[in-house]
């Protein structure tokens, strides 16, 4: 004969076990659905960064002319240099992902992050930009020089730039443009000038 209080305890424990099991099942279900919902809620273009509107120089590539063109625009830039760097690079990439772009980049192209340490900027591009990038010497060079030149023009003090893709080093952007080495800002400025585009003043 099982005492009554033990029966009650066992019953309560059973109920608690069932309830916690149901709760865990619901949590797991919610977790599985959460990433999809988050993805759906992601804005089409990144929200404008908060800060004071400033005039920035964008070096935009033109495939037909094979050169970069300087264009000034007004952007709200945050004070933090890393966020500021992200903002100017996103402004360049946003132009390239537009329908009538002179240098189209794949949809979803973006900058994951920019780290700035002692004059070296490490730019982490996302996989959509690199894996969907057109392959070719000129087309890849234009992308890289455009990003480096824009960064250097708007964040004085940067002397070299390293480009990563999804946090990883890789040899080239899409089979041609070097991503293994650091880009020297002075050398890039000279190359842009030689291209016939507008170099950084």
């Amino acid at each position: 004969m099982i005492p009554r209080h033990l029966k009650i305890t066992f019953g309560l424990l059973l109920l608690a076990a069932l309830a916690s099991g149901l709760y865990m099942w619901m949590l797991k279900r919610h977790e599985r659905q959460a990433p999809q919902t988050a993805q759906l809620q992601q804005p089409v273009s990144p929200p404008p960064p908060a800060g004071t509107p400033l005039t920035v120089a964008l070096y935009l590539a033109d495939d037909q002319q094979g050169a970069l063109h300087r264009e000034e625009t007004s952007l709200s830039l945050p004070a933090d240099p890393s966020l500021r760097a992200q903002a100017v690079l996103r402004a360049v990439i946003a132009r390239y992902t537009q329908k009538d772009s002179t240098h189209p980049l794949p949809a979803g192209a973006d900058v994951n992050d920019v780290y700035i340490v002692n004059g070296t900027a490490v730019v982490d591009l996302n996989d959509a930009l690199a894996s969907g990038h057109r392959s070719g010497v000129m087309v890849e060079e234009l992308t890289v020089l455009s990003l480096v030149q824009t960064l250097a023009a708007n964040l004085p003090g940067i002397t070299q730039v390293k480009i990563l893709v999804n946090g990883q080093e890789r040899d080239t952007l899409a089979g041609h443009a070097d991503l293994a080495d650091f880009y020297d800002v002075a050398a890039v400025n000279r190359a842009v000038e030689q291209m016939g585009g507008t170099s950084s003043p």
Partner: protein, 508 residues
């Protein structure tokens, strides 16, 4: 009195027993509630798939303690495949054969047949997952036979894809084990005291019988084969340090003691240098251009080229022509059917012939659809001690020809015997620009427009010679003109003339 005495006595014996039962029951319930939940494996595991058309790996997922694999991941590289969800059903069409699965069920309809999976089918994010152990039953009606699964090793062989090997101990010219493979192989090699291991990731290497072979050799005692985690591994056990040497187009690997292998290979260069691309200019007998022996460098391991026949040492080439890309690296897709690697190979071969015709001894880095890494190209070019390096590329943007020299920071060129790898080109930048200008001059004579630029284009920075990358672009909007023999010949001729011009200028 009897009751009062018995009650505490009974309680003392009952209570602990019941508590243990309750706890065990609750634990069991919790376990049962947890079990059906799908738990992804912490470290991603893969199934290696070896087919006659493609070799690839697909991720595995765990459901209820069983390995599952996405059907589409396996079928997509092997043919035309489409899938759609229809309520609880998931319908798949592969090469006009229809397969119907149902979420949580083991029954599968395949055309007019019925199959039973070893465990229920699952749908996750629109991907149909089937148990790994049922792959053979599922794929056999869809793919050419045989379909062979090594489930514990996570290796799937399709259509008879297999690489076999034999091993033989030889004592002359040195004690070594010669492994002969039925197809070229490219294993990664690791050495440690007493053993040398070769790991075959992409090759469908199949095990011999028995899996361990013992040798009666004073140095190498045994060879063992094992397969696990999607790869095959051959291990040679020895009492001395071992080295591997590739030969016969990578179909043979000779493993022997370091001292003997090095002694055998001593008269040859350590870095594999291609044999001369053509006979001396005085000879009129055409000799086919051999492909370089990329054996050692391709795998990035310490290895030596095969023995060369005894002959007078060949003169170093004056020009290295590098057809960019190749093999699994196609470069730019110039059109739906035109890959950059094919166009540049054709142009490079023409350029090689034109340079030779001018009496400029030339080495072609690749003469077929083979892959070379960027570092291998630089190593081959630098060790050849050539004076000029021309890298050939093709593009569809713009028109004419673009000539690129290295994009280097303003640094003082290094002097001395050794040059820094990252900026080896700095000492040659001036002569590279002269070469570029000379090629541009020759192109302009043919009314071909050209641009001279700097580009971050590897491996230019690592080349210790006058180095120019040439990007050939179609003369008009029609990209197929890149494949025109006349256009390629025109461009190759102008580049050859430019190199000859630079050579004349450089000759004192």
């Amino acid at each position: 009195m009897a009751w009062t005495d018995r009650l505490p006595h009974n309680r003392r014996h009952w209570a602990p027993g019941h508590s243990r039962s309750s706890v065990a029951a609750v634990a069991l319930l919790l376990l049962l509630l947890w079990l059906p939940q799908a738990r992804p494996v912490t470290a991603q595991e893969y199934l290696s798939v070896y087919g006659l058309r493609a070799t690839f790996s697909v991720p595995l997922q765990q459901y209820g303690g069983r390995d599952y694999v996405a059907v589409l991941d396996i079928l997509a590289p092997l043919g035309e495949v489409a899938a759609r969800k229809d309520g609880h059903k998931w319908k798949l069409r592969f090469n006009s054969v229809e397969v119907e699965f149902q979420e949580g069920k083991t029954a599968v309809k395949l055309a007019n047949r019925r199959l039973q999976l070893a465990s229920p089918f699952h749908l996750q994010d629109g991907r149909g997952l089937v148990p790994l152990s049922s792959l053979v039953a599922l794929l056999s009606p869809l793919l050419p036979p045989p379909v062979e699964l090594h489930e514990t090793a996570r290796r799937l062989f399709l259509g008879g894809a297999a690489v076999h090997f034999s091993a033989e101990v030889v004592h002359s010219p040195s004690d070594s084990v010669v492994l002969t493979f039925s197809a070229p192989v490219n294993p990664s090699i690791a050495t440690e005291p007493g053993r040398l291991s070769m790991t075959f990731v992409r090759e469908p290497l199949l095990h011999p019988s028995p899996s361990t072979m013992n040798f009666e050799d004073q140095y190498i005692s045994s060879l063992s084969y094992r397969e696990a985690e999607g790869v095959a591994e051959l291990t040679l056990n020895s009492n001395v340090p071992l080295l591997a040497r590739f030969s016969s187009d990578r179909k043979t690997i000779t493993v022997g003691p370091v001292v003997q292998i090095v002694a055998q290979a001593k008269p040859q260069p350590v870095v594999p240098v291609p044999t001369p691309a053509s006979p001396p200019a005085a000879s009129s007998t055409p000799v086919p251009t051999p492909t370089p022996n990329i054996g050692a460098a391709a795998s990035g391991q310490l290895a030596f080229p095969p023995p060369l026949p005894l002959a007078a040492p060949a003169p170093p080439p004056l020009v290295v022509v590098d057809a960019s890309h190749g093999g699994t690296e196609p470069g730019a897709a110039l059109s739906d059917i035109l890959a950059e690697k094919d166009v540049v190979l054709s142009i490079a071969q023409r350029l090689h012939n034109d340079l030779e015709a001018r009496g400029l001894h030339t080495m072609l880095l690749r003469n077929s659809d083979t892959a070379l890494s960027l570092d291998q190209r630089a190593i081959l070019a630098n060790t050849s001690r050539a004076r000029f390096y021309i890298s050939v590329h093709a593009g569809s943007l713009g028109s004419g020809v673009r000539l690129y020299t290295a994009l280097l920071p303003p640094i003082t060129p290094a002097s001395g015997t050794f040059l820094p790898w990252d900026s080896a080109q700095a000492s040659y930048l001036s002569s590279s620009q002269t070469l570029s200008a000379d090629i541009a001059t020759e192109l302009s004579k043919l009314n071909v427009s050209s641009r001279q630029m700097q580009a971050p284009l590897p491996p230019l920075n690592h080349i210790s010679a006058a180095a120019v990358a040439v990007e050939v672009v179609p003369p008009g909007a029609d990209v197929t003109q890149l494949n025109s023999a006349a256009y390629q010949e025109q461009i190759a001729g102008a580049i050859a003339a430019g190199v000859a011009r630079a050579q004349q200028g450089a000759t004192p």
